[in-house]
C-alpha cells in the first residue's frame, strides 16, 4: 500500500520560486538490524528520488540507510512555464512508485 503525498502550489507567477514537498510511504529498513534470533533484517530502502518538469530532470537525490522511514523530501524550483512535475522513487526489492502534480504559470 505505498502512497505518496505531494504539495505543489497549483498556480504561480512566471519566475516565482516555489517550494515542492513530497512524502513517500516506505519503511526504510536499514539492513543493520537483527531479529531476536540473530538473523539480519535485510535492507529495504528507497535508493533514488527524481523529479522531472515537462520531461527534464530538475532534482535528484540518492537515499541511504540512515534516512528515516517515510522520507520527506522538499526542494525549491523556479517556474517559467506551466507544466507537470513528475516524481519517481526507486528502491530495493523492485520498489518503484510515481506521482505527478501540475502547476499553471501566469
Amino acid at each position: 500500500m505505498a502512497s505518496a503525498l505531494i504539495n505543489v502550489p497549483p498556480k504561480a507567477k512566471r519566475g516565482d520560486i516555489v517550494e515542492i514537498k513530497t512524502l513517500m510511504s516506505h519503511i526504510m529498513e536499514t539492513g543493520y538490524r537483527h531479529t531476536a534470533s540473530g538473523e539480519v533484517v535485510p535492507r529495504d530502502i528507497i535508493t533514488s528520488f527524481t523529479c522531472r518538469f515537462n520531461g527534464n530532470e530538475i532534482f535528484h537525490a540518492d537515499l541511504f540507510p540512515a534516512i528515516a522511514a517515510n522520507p520527506f523530501i522538499t526542494f525549491f524550483a523556479t517556474v517559467t512555464e506551466s507544466g507537470k512535475f513528475e516524481f519517481e522513487w526507486v528502491g530495493d526489492n523492485g520498489f518503484s512508485e510515481t506521482a505527478s502534480a501540475s502547476i499553471s504559470v501566469e
Binding site: 500500500m1 512524502l23 528515516a68
Partner: protein, 257 residues
C-alpha cells in the same frame, strides 16, 4: 500480619490522595510541549506522515472483504460524513460484550459480524489505516468519551489502574502525568498524558501507533509487565484517559516525538 496489612492499606490510601488531578484550566495537549518543527509537521497534511495511513485507510474503506462481500463504505457511505465525531466517543459501551470497547475493537467487531471476515491484528498496517481514517474525521471535535452512564464503573476501574503503583520502579501513571507533567524526564517533556491525537505518528516509532501501543510502552518503561493488546485493563485505561481529556479537541493523526 493483620497489622502489616492495615499499614499497607493506609500507605495505599495516602498514595492515592497525593495524586492531585490537573485542574481543567491547566490541561494541555501533548502538542503544546513540542518544538516548532514537530508542530509544523503535524499541522500540514502533506508533511504529516500520519496522513499516509489515512490515505491507505481511504482505499481500505472501499475494499470489499469477508464472506459477506461488503466494504465499510457499503454500510457507512462516505467516511467524511458518517464517521465525523465517532472517534471522540470511543472507547464506548458495547452491549454484546457488556463492557467498553475501543475504536480498534469496534472495527474488528464490524469485520467479524458484518463483513464476516477475520479480525485484523493489532498494530497491523490495515487496522491502523482504518482507525486513522475514522479518527481523522473527528479532527477538531471535542472529546466526549465516557458520557454514557453505563461506563461509570469502567472509568472508575481505569482510574484505579492509573493511580496503581506497579513494576520495579513502583510508579503509577499519576506519579508522572498528574504530579510532574511540568518537568522533564531525560530531556523529554513528561506531558499530561491526554490521548488527543491517536492513532498518532511517533518519530521514535517511525510509524503510526495506537494508544494501546503507547500505554504498553509506558508500562514497560516503569518495568512492569505490559497488559496484552485488547485486554480489559488497557481499554479501561484508554477510557479513563479519554474521559479525563473530555472537551479537548481531537488532533488525529497527530505527530509526537
Amino acid at each position: 500480619m493483620r497489622c502489616f496489612g492495615a499499614i499497607a492499606a493506609v500507605v495505599l490510601v495516602a498514595g492515592a490522595v497525593s495524586a492531585a488531578e490537573i485542574p481543567p484550566g491547566d490541561r494541555r495537549s501533548g502538542y503544546s510541549f513540542m518544538t516548532a518543527d514537530t508542530k509544523a509537521m503535524q499541522d500540514e497534511d502533506t508533511a504529516n506522515p500520519g496522513m499516509l495511513w489515512v490515505l491507505d485507510g481511504e482505499t481500505l474503506w472501499k475494499r470489499k472483504a469477508g464472506a459477506a462481500g461488503k466494504a465499510c463504505a457499503d454500510c457507512h457511505g462516505d467516511a467524511r460524513a458518517s464517521m465525523k465525531g465517532v472517534a471522540a466517543r470511543y472507547p464506548a459501551f458495547d452491549k454484546e460484550a457488556a463492557r467498553p470497547i475501543d475504536l480498534e475493537q469496534r472495527i474488528n467487531s464490524c469485520r467479524v459480524n458484518q463483513q464476516q471476515a477475520t479480525p485484523l491484528p493489532f498494530e497491523g498496517r490495515e487496522l491502523l489505516a482504518l482507525t486513522a481514517i475514522i479518527a481523522r474525521q473527528s479532527q477538531g471535535v471535542p472529546i466526549e468519551a465516557g458520557a454514557d452512564p453505563q461506563l461509570t464503573p469502567f472509568i472508575a476501574k481505569g482510574r484505579e489502574l492509573y493511580l496503581q503503583r506497579q513494576g520495579q520502579l513502583n510508579l503509577g501513571c499519576a506519579n508522572c502525568h498528574d504530579d510532574n507533567w511540568d518537568k522533564r524526564l531525560a530531556g523529554s517533556a513528561i506531558t499530561q498524558g491526554h490521548p488527543t491525537g491517536y492513532p498518532l505518528y511517533r518519530l521514535e516509532w517511525q510509524s503510526l501507533g495506537s494508544l494501546q501501543r503507547r500505554l504498553r510502552a509506558c508500562i514497560t518503561g516503569i518495568r512492569a509487565q505490559a497488559y496484552d493488546y485488547g485486554s480489559p485493563e488497557l481499554v479501561e485505561l484508554e477510557l479513563y484517559l479519554m474521559s479525563r481529556a473530555r472537551g479537548m479537541p481531537i488532533e488525529a493523526p497527530a505527530v509526537r516525538p
